[in-house]
Amino acid sequence: MRHFLILLRRDLGLLLGGERRGATLLPVLFFLAVAMLYPFAVGPDAPVLARTGGGVLWIAALLAAILPLDRLVEPDLELGVFDQLALRGISEELAMSARMLAHWLSFAPALMLAALPASALVGIDAATLKTVELGLLAGTPGLAALGVLVAALTAGLRGGAALGGLLVIPLAVPLLVFGAGSLSTGGAAGIVLTAAFSLVLWAITPFAAGAAIRSARGQ
């Protein structure tokens, strides 16, 4: 547990703080930019915007979560951090758990906050906004887990970052189907399914990502 907290502190510092603070704001600005551009592209048709706005926010959130992918695992692999951790008896699984939580903390709360102004931009009402926010709360942990999983799998590959972004999208479809689907039914069922999918990802990612890093090392 002590090790987990030390790792989490470092990961949070790297993802949130220091000189790369601008890079942390980037997903949020990206998210807001999509929400701002959407009414321009579709036209000022209020009912259409209100009906589709929630879904657009979901897509924007998904794409925003992909942005920091190349910073999640690759730099540490190149620096030999995982080797040094392994020598100290700290497993890749523990390192990946901390990375996953840090990644989620670094983008999800800010994204959910940004969903407030974004909802005004796409013109959705308060009830829909509430569904979007609950859906994001249930879905962003899954997105964070997917991000770490794919970043670990593609770390060390040439063009891994671009490939990673492409890989996350199909894997995130279930999250999108249930999360954004809850908007049309307005019910809790979709959100619960989103949360369930997030939990599954949350549970398997440390092991799958840890194995990926070990195999990347063996080469």
Binding site: G80, D83, Q84, R88
Partner: protein, 192 residues
Amino acid sequence: MQECRLSANNLACQRGERLLFRGLALELGPGQALQVKGANGIGKSSLIRILAGLLRPLVGTVEREGSVGLLDERPALDPALPLGKALGFWQRLDGPGHAELAQLGLSGLLEVPVRYLSTGQKKRAALARLLGQEAAIWLLDEPLNGLDARGVAMVEDLVARHCTQGGIALVASHQPIALPGGAAIDLADFTA
């Protein structure tokens, strides 16, 4: 210093299609040092990684007793962070070891981001990380790269002190380095 031992038996290593070395055996006890010589690409780094348990040998066994400290070409220090903070992370994991930063020539650099450090300064920083770990078995992969003459003398002195305290040091280097006991093996003798 904890009880330590490092032994390898009948090691062979294959990288890709190439068999790098075979039939390699070594046995190191407390206070012993060994230099692994050999030309570039002969498998020194692979041997170090096998001994550290980070790479599986093709055949053969490695037995380790005691904690392992690894120093290779990657400093494992975050480039964007000031040196003090980057070292602080490992210090928190390793506990309050005492790397004498002044002795390593780092005392004035703690506020400087790691990526602005020169090659030699990064190597010194990695040495500080290694010292802080207080590991019994040192595996040093080309520790002299990028160091000036004073740096080389410093590494020799650190290894000598480590061995006096009962530690083990295995140094892979193509450069001459004075180690306590002066033992050395040449990987060229084990090539397939």
